[in-house]
Amino acid sequence: MPVGVVGGAAAGVARSRLEWLGKLILVLEYAFKLDLVCFSTMSGRGVSSRARGAAAKGEAAAARLAVRAVRQADLTAVIALDATVTGLHKSDYWWRIHRRYGVAGQGLRHFLVAELGGRVVGFIIGEVRDWEFGSPPCGWVFAIDVDPRARQRGVGAALLGAMRERFERAGVTTMRTMLASDNPLILSFFRSQGMRAGRLIPLELAIGPVAADGE
C-alpha cells in the first residue's frame, strides 16, 4: 500500500472539508453584507446604517478579482511572489522582463497581473511567436504564478483566460506552454483548463564541462 497515496487522499478529504467550511463562511459573510445593504435601503435614513452599507459595498469591491496589464509599481509584489514560490529572489531578471513585456509589449507580448482585494496575487506572461519550429504563429505562456494564499479562487484561470483573449485578438489559434514533468500541481492546472499534449516534443541535452565529465 503506497503510504503517500493514502496520506494524499486523507489530506484531500481534510482539504475538501476546509474548503467547504471556507465556502460556508463566505456565504455567511455575503448574507451578512446583503442584510446591511437592505437595512440601509429600507430605513432610508440613519447615517450609520448607510455608512455600514457603503463599507460593505467597499469590501465586496475590494474582494473582486481583476486582471490588468502590469504597472511598474507592481514589480515589488511580483518579485516577492516569485521569490515565495520559487525560493529565488531575482530582481534584475524581473526588471528586464518588465522592460520587454510590460513596457514594450506592442500588442504581441503580455505581462498581466491579478488583483484581489487591491493586492497583486498572481501574474502571467506570454507572447505571440511566429514560425518557431515550423509552427504557424501561436501564443506562448511562459510564466504563471499565484500566491499560495490566494489559490483555489479562480485566480490562475482568470489570468489564463485573459491571456487567451489577448492571443485570440492577435489572431492566433493555438496557445502553448512548457512545463516540468515533475511538477504535477502546475501540470494539473493547465490540464484543468483544457490543455493537452501537443505536436511539439521538448528535447534537451546536457552540455558544457559537466556533460563532458559525465561522458
Binding site: 500500500m1 503506497p2 497515496v5 493514502v6 494524499g8 487522499a9 486523507a10 484531500g12 478529504v13 482539504r15 475538501s16 474548503e19 483555489q152 514533468s181 515533475d182 504535477p184 501540470l187 494539473s188 493547465f190 490540464r191 484543468s192 483544457g194 499534449a197
Partner: protein
C-alpha cells in the same frame, strides 16, 4: 503502459462516484454499468475505501460516496493503488547488455511521460473530459 483490469475498474468506480458528489451509489450500479461481478468489484472498492477515496455506508439505502478532493486526486493516485509502478518496463533485460541498457533508457523516457500524464490529470479534469465526450453536460460517465 497496459492497465490491469482492477485498475480500470477502480478508475471507472472513482469517476462514477465523483460524478455524483454527496450521493450514495450502490456497488451494484457500477457492476451493472461496466459488466463486472459484484464480488470482483468489492475487492476494488475495499481498496478505494481503505485509501480514503470513497466511504462505504452499510444497510438499506447504503452504498459508496466519493470523499476525496476531485481537484487534487489524480489518476496516478488511483493507479498506484493497484499497479506496481516501480517495477516498470524500464528495467534492463536479463542479459544486461549495452542494447538492454540503451533500450532501458528509451523505455524509462516513455515511463516518465506516462507517469507525468497520469499525475497531471485530476478526477475533476477527467470528469470534464467525459462530459465533453458525452456531448452534453450533466450526463454521467458511461
Amino acid at each position: 503502459m497496459r492497465l490491469q483490469k482492477n485498475t480500470l475498474l477502480a478508475l471507472y468506480s472513482v469517476l462514477e462516484f465523483a460524478s455524483r458528489p454527496g450521493e450514495l451509489v450502490p456497488a451494484s450500479a457500477v457492476a451493472t454499468t461496466y459488466g463486472e461481478s459484484a464480488h470482483h468489484l468489492a475487492k476494488v472498492l475495499s481498496e478505494l475505501t481503505r485509501a480514503g477515496i470513497v466511504e462505504s455506508v452499510r444497510g438499506v439505502g447504503g452504498g459508496y460516496r466519493f470523499v476525496a478532493n476531485p481537484k487534487r486526486l489524480s489518476l496516478l493516485d488511483v493507479i498506484r493503488l493497484f499497479e506496481d509502478l516501480d517495477a516498470g518496463a524500464s528495467a534492463a533485460g536479463p542479459a544486461n547488455t549495452a542494447v538492454d541498457r540503451a533500450l532501458g533508457q528509451v523505455l524509462a523516457e516513455i515511463d516518465q511521460n506516462t507517469l507525468a500524464t497520469f499525475g497531471s490529470i485530476t478526477v475533476s479534469t477527467m470528469l470534464k473530459m467525459v462530459q465533453a465526450e458525452d456531448g452534453s453536460s450533466g450526463r454521467r460517465p458511461r
